[in-house]
């Protein structure tokens, strides 16, 4: 319950911080950190335009997407406080729920019959397929390290004893930041700023959405960011008391947001054709984590 509330709170200002960081880095003053939320509320108040090509799939997909991410957040713990629902193997369900939302976004993009959105959908489906192994290997490695199989149990028993385990935590943080960047279609993979179809992935998929639906999709992106931030913060919280965990949680979220802003300010978008290779690198980094865990447990024969 704690984590759900905290993530929802963090999702309100996360993108704002990213945008603010970017403006400061480029020498501008920038808008307030709640500006993205204000924009989303503006979308909620607007009417919609639907394409004559679309069917009901296009109208239900944003709600499904939103619900799936919200549901996935329910499984995320905060230190020693479990998520609303916690059981063995809940991270499998977590990953598959996100995939459920993605499925609907992809088919809704193809529902418009637009070539831009088809392009975005094609890339999104491929990238999300490629990124999935990294998530599972990292979670598998931590399951191996702790001997547990649920988010809450893994994170609450995760304690860093030796130096190598800190390295593992650092690597896992890197992997999760990159997963979050790919899942949210941010800079090195995708450029949300430009509306040039050659560089777009996620943005291209929602070209035809408007009004309430667009607001839902935008806020879902915020929630996804905060959700990954919560997972990353869990790497560092362990089983501390709540007076430490909540500040750490927000510190990690803000740090994560600033990192995203800095990455977006100082990195160029990759060439689209090289993205699959880059995403594969994530899988190999997560394999490093796996072998690190094996080393830690002295399992090498």
């Amino acid at each position: 319950m704690v984590s759900l509330v905290l993530i929802l709170v963090a999702s309100l200002f996360f993108t704002g911080i990213v945008i603010r960081t970017k403006s400061l880095a480029s020498g501008r003053k920038g808008s307030g950190i709640f500006q993205p939320m204000k924009d989303i509320f503006k979308q909620f108040r607007k009417g919609s335009v639907y394409s004559s090509t679309t069917s009901f799939i296009f109208q239900i997909a944003p709600s499904f997407y939103f619900a799936s991410v919200l549901m996935a957040i329910l499984a995320i713990p905060l230190g020693k406080y479990p998520g609303l629902i916690s059981f063995q193997g809940d991270f499998v369900l977590f990953a598959y729920l996100l995939a459920f939302g993605k499925f609907f976004m992809i088919i809704s993009a193809l529902d418009t019959g637009s070539s831009f959105e088809g392009m975005g959908a094609s890339r999104e489906s491929l990238f999300s397929m490629l990124v999935e192994p990294a998530f599972f290997i990292v979670m598998g490695s931590f399951a191996l390290l702790t001997g547990e199989t649920s988010f809450h149990e893994i994170f609450s028993t995760l304690h860093y004893g030796s130096n190598i385990s800190y390295l593992l935590g650092g690597l896992a943080t890197f992997v999760f930041i990159m997963i979050a960047m790919i899942e949210n279609s941010r800079m090195p993979i995708d450029d949300p700023k430009t509306h040039l179809e050659l560089t777009m992935v996620h943005e291209a998929m929602i070209l035809d959405n408007s009004g309430f639906d667009l607001g839902l999709i935008l806020h879902t992106t915020n929630m996804k960011f905060a959700m990954y931030g919560a997972i990353i913060s869990n790497f560092f919280i362990g089983d501390l008391a709540s007076m430490y965990t909540i500040p750490i949680f927000f510190a990690v979220q803000i740090g994560f947001a600033i990192t995203v802003g800095l990455i977006e300010s100082f990195m160029a978008c990759f060439r689209m054709g090289h993205n699959p290779q880059f995403i594969f690198i994530l899988t190999s980094v997560s394999l490093l984590i796996f072998f690190g865990v094996l080393l830690l447990l002295e399992r090498f024969v």
């Binding site: 919609s48 090509t53 499925f103 193809l110 019959g113 489906s125 999935e132 001997g147 399992r299």
Partner: protein, 676 residues
């Protein structure tokens, strides 16, 4: 009980005898009634088995076969129920599907008889425990399913695919015959219990060898890579309800066979587990990798059957490792995952095939590239296809997730409990399963959206009729079961505890405790799924409430300033998977013809891709080609001259008579020389 089983078989025989004498319209209805009756009978049997004790009786048999034991245990009952349900929905759907062919009266009689015969033989395969009788029924099953596949035998490809199926089925029978003969020679009995007595006295290597022989036979039927090549040919050739039944349950008899042999064997299960697990991961990934590049809807679904056989195999492999290492948890998770996925796959795959049948009936094509926008003409079929797609991708809250979840849990649990090589193997299997899931997502977003969404790509929508309500009649029952497994999995797991317990009891391990733990985890997943459904509905209702008074306008799809018809500019199936195709090109075998635009006023350009199976090319086509090359050296013998054929006959007869004579003479000569 005995009378019920006999009544079951008698119903089949009586219906088959009666069918030719009926009018065309009556044939379908009588078949449906007969199948209903049969399903009712075997359901009573299975439910009795599940609630009470297993059935075990024996026929006297003949001198050749020996006694014919009939045993209905929990494993048989699980498969009987799975098979019966799909055959029932298949018959209901088939009744609608066959209306189009009503003028082919004789053909329909044959088809209906073969349908009943296939069903009857499948059920009998589950309960008979005599090797020779098993083989005979297996042969009946193979022949009758050949007949139901080639319903449209006047089409050349159909017949070709059918014959391919027939030959590969017989290769499978060959392996099985060898395996049963091995046991018969060593123990002198065809009874299945001979396998147990034989392998318990011999070293483990013999048991593993015997298993591999059985596995080869059953794997061809089930479609494990590299024995899968008949599947993608046979499915598109058969009528839709047959494809559904074939992919849903006929290939599962191979899985049943593997499980049955595992129950009977007494050997070292560790190497078997490794073998099945590795082969299954390859099967799963390879199946879905090829599925993505298919542009024929049914062929795509056929490759997905291979993928799902892989997932079932991963479960079985996991269970075997559990047996080998005496790990209760793995036995429970592996076998219950495999058995549940067998049921799940039969549900969503038959749903998908029946839906594709509706697409075919209204558009007369299965080529994904020429379809599009069908959701407006057939909304119900589209929704059912969507549910099937979500379920086959293993997404919650549908049934596919539950079985994949059990297998995932087994893989993650065994990461930490055993030795190094097993940990690495488990990671490999997890990677495989994750890739299967991700690739399936690409494949089904492609299949669903290109066929049903957007606008039609080649076919004129005016010519497409609206769907008939009768065409989706049987879908409701399937979807209900799909949802039930997704939301209340513990009910099904409770039943599954019995067949899974059989495997554990075989090595005298009690799995009750682990099982209850798993069941409670699964019920958590079910609750989570139910909450998810409620949340989705809730969000959607809120959206509806908020947007009720908002202005809504309809316009063209945003085209970056271009406002004309964008039909031809839509993404197609090939363009959707283009990046994937390039990434995976080294595993694929795609024949591509391209004519590019040249000059200032380019003429018509076109591009064709024909996906082919690399394994089929190297394992089937190349050897056959080489064999034909070799045999073609002897074509001079076949010169069309009747005189020379008569001469061959004479030469043959002369050889038959002379050769023994000559041998006698030579022997005599040698003896004579020896005596000198």
């Amino acid at each position: 009980m005995k009378t019920l089983i006999e009544l079951f078989n008698l119903t089949a025989i009586a219906t088959i005898v009666a069918l030719p004498f009926l009018k065309v319209k009556g044939k379908g209805i009588v078949t449906l009634i007969a199948i209903c009756l049969q399903v009712a009978l075997v359901s009573i049997i299975s439910i009795k088995v599940f609630s009470g004790t297993p059935i075990d009786y024996s026929y006297l048999g003949s001198y050749i076969t020996g006694a014919i034991p009939v045993r209905v245990d929990y494993l048989s009952s699980w498969f009987i129920l799975t098979i019966s349900f799909t055959f029932l929905t298949g018959a209901v759907y088939g009744l609608h599907y066959m209306k189009r062919y009503i003028d082919q009266s004789a053909n329909i009689s044959l088809h209906a008889s073969a349908y009943i015969l296939t069903f009857t033989s499948l059920i009998n395969l589950c309960i008979v425990q005599n090797g020779l009788v098993f083989l005979v029924i297996w042969e009946i099953m193979a022949l009758s399913s050949f007949i139901i596949i080639i319903f449209e035998h006047y089409k050349k490809e159909t017949l070709k695919a059918g014959i391919n199926f027939l030959i590969q089925s017989h290769v499978s029978i060959l392996f099985l015959t060898l395996a049963f003969m091995w046991v018969k020679i060593k123990t002198g009995t065809f009874d299945f219990s001979g396998i147990t007595t034989y392998t318990s006295t011999e070293p483990a290597l013999i048991g593993v060898g015997l298993f591999i022989l059985f596995f080869l036979g059953f794997a061809i039927k089930a479609g494990f890579v590299p024995f899968h090549t008949w599947l993608p040919l046979a499915h598109p050739a058969a009528p839709a309800h047959i494809s559904g039944v074939m992919s849903g349950v006929i290939i599962k008899i191979g899985i049943f066979g593997i499980l049955r042999v595992l129950l009977l064997l007494k050997t070292n299960f560790v190497p078997i587990g490794y073998f099945i697990l590795i082969l299954s991961v390859i099967t799963g990934v390879y199946g879905v990798m090829l599925a993505i590049i298919q542009h024929n809807l049914k062929k795509l679904l056929a490759y997905h059957s291979i993928e799902n056989i892989g997932i079932i195999g991963i479960g079985i492999g996991l269970g075997c490792l559990g047996l080998g290492y005496n790990n209760q948890l793995l036995i429970v998770l592996g076998f219950s995952g495999a058995l549940l996925h067998t049921l799940n796959h039969s549900l969503f795959k038959s749903l998908l095939f029946y839906s594709s049948g509706n697409v075919y009936q209204l558009t007369h094509t299965l080529d994904i590239e020429s379809l599009g926008g069908l959701i407006k003409k057939m909304p119900k079929t589209a929704i059912f296809f969507l549910i099937g797609s979500l379920a086959i991708c293993g997404l919650p809250p549908f049934n596919g997730f539950i079985s994949e979840f059990l297998i995932y849990l087994g893989l993650f649990k065994s990461l930490s409990s055993v030795d190094f090589s097993l940990t690495v193997l488990m990671m490999f299997a997890i990677l495989g399963l994750v890739l299967i899931g991700g690739l399936a997502l690409i494949c089904f977003t492609k299949a669903f959206s290109i066929v049903f969404l957007g606008e039609s790509r080649h076919i004129s929508m005016d010519k497409v009729e609206n769907e008939k309500p009768a065409s989706t009649l049987s879908f409701y029952a399937i979807v209900m079961l799909i949802m039930a497994i997704g939301v209340v999995p513990m009910l099904f797991l409770k039943v599954l505890a019995l067949p899974v317990g059989q495997f554990a009891a075989n090595i005298s391990i009690d799995t009750a405790f682990e099982y209850s733990e798993i069941a409670s985890t699964a019920s958590m997943v079910g609750i989570y799924s139910a909450v998810f459904i409620l949340l989705v509905v809730f969000v959607f209702l809120i959206r509806k409430m908020v947007t009720k008074n908002r202005p809504v306008s309809i316009a063209n799809t945003w085209g970056c300033g271009y406002n004309g018809s964008s039909k031809k500019m839509q993404y197609t199936a090939s363009s959707f998977i283009r990046t994937y195709r390039k990434l995976a090109s080294s595993f694929l075998d795609i024949d591509k013809h391209k004519k590019e635009a040249k000059g200032i006023f380019p003429k018509v350009v076109h591009q064709e891709t024909h996906p082919y199976d690399k394994i089929e090319r190297w394992l089937i086509d190349k050897p056959i080609y080489n064999l034909r090359q070799l045999l073609s050296r002897f074509t001079f013998l076949q010169n069309g001259n009747v005189q020379s054929y008569i001469l061959y006959g004479f030469i043959f007869i002369a050889l038959v008579i002379l050769v023994p004579e000559i041998i006698e003479k030579i022997k005599f000569l040698i003896n004579f020389l020896n005596q000198l």
